[in-house]
């Protein structure tokens, strides 16, 4: 037995013993996703036990070093771990911006002290983070941001406002881009970390077209941030921000932006009925669904290749932009088909049978996929410039 096979057997045994049955069910609603943090209320005992078991073993962040709360797995072992999780349909024990975005940036740019201080609580799900990048005037053109931190010797005093801050009202801490030098566009931004409970921080939820309000306007009014709480160098936060965005895109694309990876036509055949030839009883929709299935299975192969290459440093640094673009456009297409397939039932907004209009709300939510974390157009710009090396601006 190879080392990897032995590892697989070990993981399999561990999952068997530790993953509660309730955690092997598909995610049905927001509360099924465990975000952790100071204010987290566990949905049930299984969710709590599952998080604790994984955290103790380093399996919330399997590829992070053990010293920072991970399991120190190699890329190959991580792949095996994920395959084994997928095999039993295990839910992720913990989802968080800390794991997906801040963690990788800290691993790359943080001091040893910062890594120990911040990464361990992230791995255990104790601190929930939010991302303070966008501002009303600065979305795609992020570097034009205006929120300002005034130098007061041992601390900054931050004033300004952020927008589209996902879960700001439920987050414990924020990683935030703050201008610290007005004269220098790119090299005048500092990547700061601070407690959302600091005096002067307020949030206001924004209602979305899906009827939910998972994100907020965030206001900073003379917020004091100690000079120890920044990552990288002062005024060089843009490097950290860009690195983190790469991971955000990797997460959005790797984490199933193509959506659930099973055949969509297979799922609808039951609802629609089939004709005498055993085909979905709407030839045009059948063709569209089958064409979509081809793209989904293809994207799944791409996802595997991308991860294999990314984890071993073979991927083009900008290739996460391509994954994000293709994956999010695909997921939007999926939900258009889900709505077509669902017919009038999928239009219901609040009935119990439709789990509160889950399909309609889900469809509307996916429209953000090609906006959040950088829009599709911006992804295409990046591919054109950095991968294809096309000329201009």
């Amino acid at each position: 037995m190879s080392d990897l096979d032995a590892f697989r057997a070990e993981v399999r045994g561990w999952l068997e013993a530790n993953c509660p049955a309730e955690m092997r069910e598909p995610i049905r609603e927001e509360g099924d996703v465990c975000w952790g943090g100071r204010n987290w209320v566990f949905k049930n005992d299984a969710q709590k036990r599952w998080l604790e078991a994984c955290a103790a073993k380093g399996y919330t962040v399997p590829d992070w070093p053990k010293a920072y709360g991970g399991a120190g797995l190699t890329p190959e072992q991580t792949k095996v771990f994920k395959q084994e999780m997928k095999r039993i349909h295990a839910r992720s024990p913990l989802d968080s911006f800390g794991i997906w975005m801040l963690g990788p940036a800290l691993l790359q740019f943080g001091t040893e002290e910062q890594k120990v201080q911040y990464l361990n609580p992230i791995a255990r799900g104790e601190i929930r983070w939010c991302q303070g990048y966008s501002e009303p005037g600065s979305g795609s053109d992020l570097v034009s941001l205006q929120t300002f931190g005034e130098d007061k010797g041992d601390h900054w005093v931050v004033n300004g406002s952020k927008i589209w801050t996902s879960y700001a009202d439920q987050a414990d801490w924020i990683f935030c881009l703050v201008r610290t030098d007005k004269a220098n566009k790119y090299q005048g931004i500092t990547f700061m970390l601070f407690d959302m409970a600091s005096p002067g921080v307020t949030t206001k939820p924004i209602l979305l077209i899906s009827g939910n309000s998972p994100f907020c306007e965030t206001f900073f009014d003379d917020v004091e941030v100690p000079k120890t709480q920044y990552i990288g160098e002062i005024n060089r936060g843009w490097d950290v921000a860009k690195y983190l965005l790469g991971h955000e895109r990797e997460m959005i694309s790797g984490g199933g932006a193509g959506g659930d990876m099973v055949s969509i036509g297979g799922a609808f055949a039951k609802a629609f009925g089939k004709n005498a030839a055993g085909e979905l009883d709407d030839p045009i929709l059948r063709a569209e669904m089958a064409a979509f299935d081809v793209d989904v299975f293809a994207y799944r192969a791409m996802g595997e290749r991308f991860m294999d290459m990314w984890k071993t440093g073979r991927a083009h640094p900008a290739s996460s932009n391509m994954m994000k673009y293709v994956g999010t456009e695909l997921n939007k297409r999926r939900h258009e088909l889900v709505m077509s397939g669902g017919g009038s039932e999928a239009l219901e907004w609040d009935s119990e049978e439709t789990k509160g209009g889950a399909r309609a709300r889900g469809w509307l939510r996916t429209k953000a996929n090609s906006i959040e974390g950088g829009t599709s157009e911006v992804m295409l710009n990046v591919i054109a410039k950095r991968i294809l090396d096309l000329p201009g601006a």
């Binding site: 089958a290 994207y299 071993t312």
Partner: protein
């Protein structure tokens, strides 16, 4: 297995890519075309392929080959595609080898070594109409004497008129049977037609062709599985070649965007073109990954291979088609000229798209395999 080329495969690519680019670039195709060559490919080039050991890549070592896999064959096919190289590699060294190796027996013993040594060119006589419908084979094989008598018509048979042997799929009493029909068989005629990409494919007529009982590849009535192996290998190979065609077209186009000036700017500066080029890049990358996945599953003998093969043929078909259409369009007027290579990519793509099932055929297969 990670989904990228390992060191050995990367080395293979490093030797095959410059070899094909130097010995058979697009000008090689032009030369064959302009001289109205009657073979469809260059025998000299095939000899060079043989010196590199390429024709027998997939042939098991026991039969004198290299015993490699579809992943490796795909490396060669991608370069063939990128350079639009006319060659019997796909039909002979991939499709025919897959069938013969799966069947084993007399015909495998006879033909596999001949393929590996570069002596035998094999044609695949499967389709019977304008569209690929392998489930509707009407050619019949009836028992006669101590062998069989074949009657029927085959179409789109690449290299049919020069092949030393044709693998013919026919209906027998209890199923499908594959036959190895030698070039000189009585009653066999191959009428070559020049195609849009200037390759040659034959209409083959089987008029009471008599073959011995040992011409059967595998077992009588049990050709279905062998045919499936042949189709899976050929489709995956065609998909790999299409990725090469698409990549070649895309590379040409991106280069052109960086050279051509209009309105006082390089046209590559216009966002309208940048976005389309970037979209194309994404589609090509996904297609490449998909083809590699199909190759990997075939090499592992995995159950999921069949689905992925159809996905790969469909996805590569879509992506390569986009690449050649955008290629011609973004070249503007010059893209319409015969002198410029981009149009040749469009032509080759069209022929490969049709070969062994077009995009629609394979999308339909994906629906069927998923139960709808």
């Amino acid at each position: 297995m990670p989904l990228y080329h390992n060191d050995d495969q990367a080395m293979l690519k490093d030797s095959v890519a410059p070899f094909v680019a130097e010995q058979a670039p697009v000008s090689h195709l032009r030369k064959l075309r302009d001289s109205a060559d009657a073979t469809g490919f260059s025998r000299d080039l095939w000899t060079q392929f043989t010196e590199m050991g390429l024709p027998g890549m997939l042939v098991p070592e026991a039969h004198g080959g290299l015993g490699m896999g579809h992943m490796e064959a795909g490396i060669v096919l991608e370069e063939i595609g990128r350079n639009l190289t006319p060659s019997p590699f796909l039909a002979t060294s991939v499709g025919a080898v897959a069938a013969l190796a799966k069947a084993g027996g007399t015909q495998a013993g006879r033909w596999l070594p001949a393929i590996a040594s570069g002596e035998a060119i094999i044609a695949l006589a499967i389709d019977e109409g304008a569209k690929h419908r392998p489930d509707r084979i009407a050619t019949t094989a009836t028992r006669a004497g101590n062998g069989f008598r074949l009657d029927g018509k085959k179409s789109f048979v690449l290299h049919g008129h020069v092949a030393d042997m044709s693998i013919v799929a026919a209906k027998t009493d209890g199923g499908i049977t594959l036959f190895a029909v030698p070039k000189d068989a009585k009653g066999l005629t191959a009428d070559p037609r020049r195609l849009v990409d200037s390759s040659l494919a034959s209409h083959v007529i089987l008029d009471g062709v008599e073959v011995d009982a040992d011409a059967v590849i595998g077992e009588v009535d049990a050709g279905g599985d062998i045919l499936d192996a042949l189709l899976a290998a050929t489709r995956t190979g065609a998909a790999a070649e299409m990725v090469g065609v698409g990549q070649g077209a895309m590379d040409m186009t991106v280069t052109y965007l960086k050279e051509r000036k209009q309105f006082g700017k390089l046209i590559g500066e216009f966002q309208g073109l940048q976005h389309r080029a970037a979209h194309l890049y994404g589609e090509m990358e996904v297609a490449r990954a998909t083809v590699m996945k199909a190759q990997q599953l075939l090499d592992e003998g995995s159950e999921g291979a069949k689905l992925m093969v159809s996905v790969a043929k469909a996805k590569a078909g879509r992506a390569a088609n986009l690449a050649v259409r955008e290629g011609v369009q973004m070249h503007g007027g010059i893209g319409m000229t015969d002198e410029y290579d981009i149009g040749l990519y469009m032509k080759r793509d069209r022929a490969l798209a049709e070969y062994m099932g077009d995009v629609h055929y394979h999308i339909d297969q994906v629906a069927r395999m998923n139960g709808y």
